[in-house]
């Protein structure tokens, strides 16, 4: 596959050419005063900053809500209360400025969602322009959990910032097809070499085998470890960490009926909420805060690796930054590794 190059100032114009076919989003300053996903039309000047947009990429893969089915709730309608799939007429989406951690979350989430038709449909619609990182933030820890600042996992096109220009490298067929018809200049050998060199320099040299260590640990040793108490003492059981996390994928399904119309929706749910596991009988298997806190971390760092292999965390650090009580997953990971 060929690499391409484009000057930084032309990048937005180049993307805008695809507006007919795609909805295009990238990270930018929002009217609310924080860095988040913004439609390309609202971006005047694009400058990729260090750091991540506030919400993760799952906003696009797991819309809030996803409409699973629609139905008529009008008794006179012969097809009343019969579920039918909504027409999926969503436009394709280009996401640019996606950092390697967010991109990697796509391939991690694809593991449990392999049978999920809604997720798979959305996945097909999305084209990811991943931007490789040259430096990391104080809350980044992608290399602890199997990622790297230059990981291209989950990207369709990888972009590297060469100070005066971007080098675009297609990763998937989808990405290649788009770049081939874009009429861009092919990257020079010097640029290609620079790209490769930067990837090599920044890739994770001391790639840790955290997942393997965790897998080798005894489940009950971790489950009964003493550190959960102090950790859960502070937790207020809100959903901030789960909702900002790119790899927290749990959901709830509910029916809504309004004025003769109904729909079955699915929306984000959080294992931090007591309702998550509450039985109709009133019994709650994870009624204690400690059990819920433990489940979240155990799921990411033990259960998921045991089942699928990798750790279900991409090291983006959003939860560390936004947790109301400053619970640090790196600290939890360290304690689990020491157990």
């Amino acid at each position: 596959m060929k690499d391409f190059t484009i000057s930084k100032s032309q990048f937005l114009d180049f993307l805008s050419e695809f507006k007919k076919e795609f909805d295009i989003y990238g990270p930018n300053e929002t009217s609310k005063g924080f860095y988040d996903w913004v439609a390309i039309d609202q971006i005047e000047q694009f400058e990729i900053k260090q750091g991540l947009p506030k919400s993760s990429i799952k906003t696009f893969l797991f819309p809030q809500p996803e409409i699973l089915f629609e139905f008529s709730a009008n008794f006179k309608d012969p097809a009343a209360y019969r579920l039918k799939e909504p027409d999926f007429k969503e436009k394709k989406i280009i996401l640019f400025g996606v950092r390697p951690c967010d991109a990697r979350s796509i391939s991690l989430n694809s593991m449990p969602y392999s049978e999920d038709t809604y997720f798979q449909k959305r996945l097909e619609q999305i084209l990811v322009f991943g931007f490789l990182c040259k430096s990391v933030c104080s809350t980044c820890f992608c290399s602890w959990v199997g990622g790297s600042p230059v990981s291209m996992d989950g990207m369709d096109i990888a972009v590297f910032d060469l100070e005066d220009a971007y080098v675009l490298r297609p990763i998937t067929k989808k990405g290649e097809e788009l770049l081939n018809r874009a009429g861009l200049d092919e990257a020079t050998d010097v640029e290609k070499e620079a790209f490769n060199r930067l990837v090599k320099e920044n890739s994770n040299k001391n790639q840790s085998n955290t997942a393997d260590i965790l897998k080798s640990k005894d489940l009950f040793d971790l489950y009964n470890a003493s550190f959960w108490q102090e950790l859960s003492d502070a937790c207020i059981n809100c959903g901030t960490c789960t909702f900002l996390c790119p790899t927290c994928y749990c959901f709830d399904i509910q029916d809504e009926v309004l004025k003769g119309k109904g729909r079955r929706i699915r929306y984000w749910d959080s294992c931090m909420f007591p309702l998550f596991t509450l039985h109709a009988s009133g019994h709650n298997p994870r009624g204690d805060k400690l059990k819920r806190v433990r489940n979240r971390f155990m799921h990411k760092l033990k259960y998921f690796p045991d089942r699928f292999g990798p750790i279900s965390c991409v090291g983006c650090g959003r939860c560390i930054r936004e947790c109301p009580v400053s619970i640090d997953i790196r600290e939890v990971l360290r304690q689990m590794l020491e157990t």
Binding site: D116, I253, S281
Partner: protein, 283 residues
């Protein structure tokens, strides 16, 4: 999971309620007889005893319910439902002829065609947890020669709270089946056994020799049934339990029903006691 209605794993089969039977004296348990509307769906449907399905009432939601009919009972499905939450209450209000969705079969079911084959079977049930065991028993009676001695111990609070009373009577008359029906307390008109299920199990003393026990019931019953069984030599890997947890997707994605690393909906609901002992107590 064996088969799903379509590519979309969330789309239920369309069914009709053909019959409703009130099972218990308090009216809180009803058995719904459902028939899938389309013939190809009926042909495609294939479940094992112990599996469950999501009953879907548009506008109310879905609930996981164990399938009470055996796959040998062709053409219809039975679900015995306790009225507890939003969906089950709505279901209890529905009439014969109402449309309803069925999504499944889901879960693993009892290994009736593999591990249980050729074994002496002990079925122990309490209260309304008898449903999937009814399916299992009917299946085994249809394939009677595949199994050794079959013992059934079933108890409820009062005679009026027993499920499937007519069938119980029939089973009690069979000579290829040992059936012990018990109620918690003496009741007028009741000539059968009196005592909690664990007590009766202790008296029956089923032999663990080439045997398997299938136990379903409230957690407290299971807890107290184990010691008398262990006393006569039962091992954890001979005992099969069916777990319950809140479920939403039924296919191991949504995260609600996990007990440690396993999903009750996908990896269960049937586990051996040995497997359960290796899980945290989050069910």
């Amino acid at each position: 999971m064996l088969k799903i209605a379509s590519q979309n794993p969330y789309l239920p089969y369309q069914a009709i309620i053909e019959d409703i039977k009130i099972e218990t004296e308090d009216g809180n348990l009803k058995t719904f007889k459902l028939v899938l509307e389309r013939e190809e769906d009926r042909d495609a449907w294939n479940h094992m005893p112990g599996q469950f399905a999501m009953l879907s009432i548009a506008g109310k939601g879905e609930i996981p319910i164990g399938i009470a009919s055996s796959p040998t009972e062709k053409g219809y499905l039975l679900f015995t439902v306790n009225r507890a939450g939003v969906v089950t209450t709505a279901l209890h209000k529905m009439d014969v002829g109402s449309p309803i969705g069925v999504r499944g079969p889901l879960g693993n079911g009892f290994p009736v065609d593999s591990a249980l084959k050729g074994k002496n079977i002990v079925i122990i049930a309490g209260g309304f947890a008898f449903t999937t065991l009814r399916a299992t028993l009917i299946y085994m009676l249809e394939h009677r020669e595949d199994y050794g001695k079959i013992t059934v111990i079933y108890g409820a609070r009062t005679p009026g709270m027993l499920l499937y009373k007519k069938e119980l009577e029939k089973w009690q008359k069979r000579d290829d089946l040992d059936v012990y029906i018990t109620v918690d307390r003496e009741a007028p008109g009741w000539n059968g056994l009196v005592g909690f299920v664990p007590t009766i199990a202790g008296q029956v003393k089923p032999s663990p020799e080439n045997a398997a026990a299938l136990i379903c019931g409230p957690p407290i019953m299971i807890k107290f049934t184990m010691p008398p069984l262990e006393e006569v030599g039962w091992k954890d890997d001979q005992v099969y339990l069916s777990l319950e947890n809140r479920m939403k997707c039924g296919i191991g994605i949504c995260g609600h029903c996990n007990v440690g690393p396993v999903y009750v909906c996908k990896d269960g609901p049937v586990f051996t006691r040995e497997q359960v002992q290796r899980l945290p107590v989050e069910f």
